[in-house]
């Protein structure tokens, strides 16, 4: 149990470092939008998501309705439902309902990505270790950004903007190199994403990611259905 927890923490270090830099920016933005340091930190601790929080602060600052808040969060964060569903297929037998209720709080893009890249099943302890250290980075970064503002030179915070994307590439490139099917899915998703960004600009970013992911993964599943042996190998 304990070693799984520590392994999870260890695997969460790059996530925590990435979060520290990204949430620093969120902290600055939240205070600029009129929130206090405490409110900004509570948002980060209770939501643990980047795009949803930024949009949520926008709704608060604009004095929007609660319905608008609900819709914005639904659209931007609905991708977590797909991730949760995907991850639910990978859980160890020790993942009982209370553990699921607790650990579901920590399904972020990055935690999901690292968990799905693991061979075999996921234990609660492993996820808790990863969630704990990632959340610490996310909340600490928000607190520092909100309270200290611009302590770091711009050149450093700017360069930190690429950390999480670099990690994403490190997750998708090795399997793309080894498997034609994964390469196909990542290339289709990337092409669609470029299309939405520069041509179909009326679709919001949150929706665009959902459409790209469903289309690319759906095509991949049609053309390259996985065999049972492949799944047992933990791919």
């Amino acid at each position: 149990m304990k070693s799984n927890f520590l392994r999870g923490m260890n695997h969460g270090i790059p996530i925590a470092l990435g979060y520290l830099s990204v949430s620093f920016g969120f902290g600055i933005l939240a205070v600029e939008s009129g929130l206090s340091v405490l409110q900004s930190s509570v948002i980060s601790a209770s939501n643990l998501t980047s795009a949803g929080q930024i949009a949520g602060v926008g709704v608060i600052a604009a004095g929007g309705t609660l319905l608008e808040m609900i819709l914005v969060q639904l659209v931007i964060n609905i991708r977590y439902s797909l991730m949760a569903l995907s991850l639910s297929q990978k859980l160890d037998r020790s993942f009982t309902a209370p553990h699921r209720l607790l650990a579901s709080y920590g399904i972020t893009d990055e935690i999901f990505a690292v968990c799905s890249a693991q061979k075999g099943t996921i234990t609660p302890a492993y996820m808790y270790g990863m969630i704990l250290i990632s959340m610490a980075g996310w909340v600490l970064g928000t607190f520092l950004g909100a309270s200290a503002g611009e302590v770091l030179p711009d050149s450093v915070t700017a360069a930190m903007g690429i950390v999480l994307y670099g990690m994403f590439l490190a997750i998708i490139i090795p399997p793309s190199r080894k498997k034609k099917s994964v390469l196909f899915v990542t290339v289709i998703a990337a092409l669609l994403s470029v299309l939405f960004k520069y041509v179909l600009t009326m679709i919001s970013g949150g929706f665009a990611v959902i459409i790209c992911a469903i289309a690319a993964a759906g095509l991949g599943a049609l053309l390259f259905p996985v065999s049972d042996e492949e799944e047992e190998a933990g791919e």
Partner: protein, 99 residues
């Protein structure tokens, strides 16, 4: 309306979205198509989120592209996540010093 109410609603919606499928979906999925789909979803989501956003992630296209190239090469050789992530950032920072 107080900010606390907004924060509560925001957090509740985000939690429910994650919790419902994670907690109530206990069966192993039989359909080969659905299992394949769910296997490919992580790669599709991450790819769509990374491209093209990574090329403007540092606020400067040149430093972003250099960081991206470094990340692609290191990831191609299977280096650990943290090494790839920090090398991308460091190379973007160093490039920024020269432009």
């Amino acid at each position: 309306m107080t900010v606390a109410v907004y924060i509560f609603v925001m957090a509740a919606v985000t939690y429910i979205i994650r919790m419902v499928p994670f907690t109530f979906f206990r069966k192993k999925i039989k359909s080969r198509f659905v299992r394949s789909f769910l296997k490919y979803i992580p790669y599709a989501v991450l790819s769509a989120m990374t491209i093209p956003a990574i090329f403007t992630s540092t606020g400067n296209v040149v430093t972003s592209v250099v960081g991206t190239l470094v990340a692609v090469v290191l990831a191609f050789f299977d280096l650990p996540l943290i090494v790839v992530a920090l090398a991308a950032s460091a190379s973007a920072f160093i490039t920024g010093l020269f432009i």
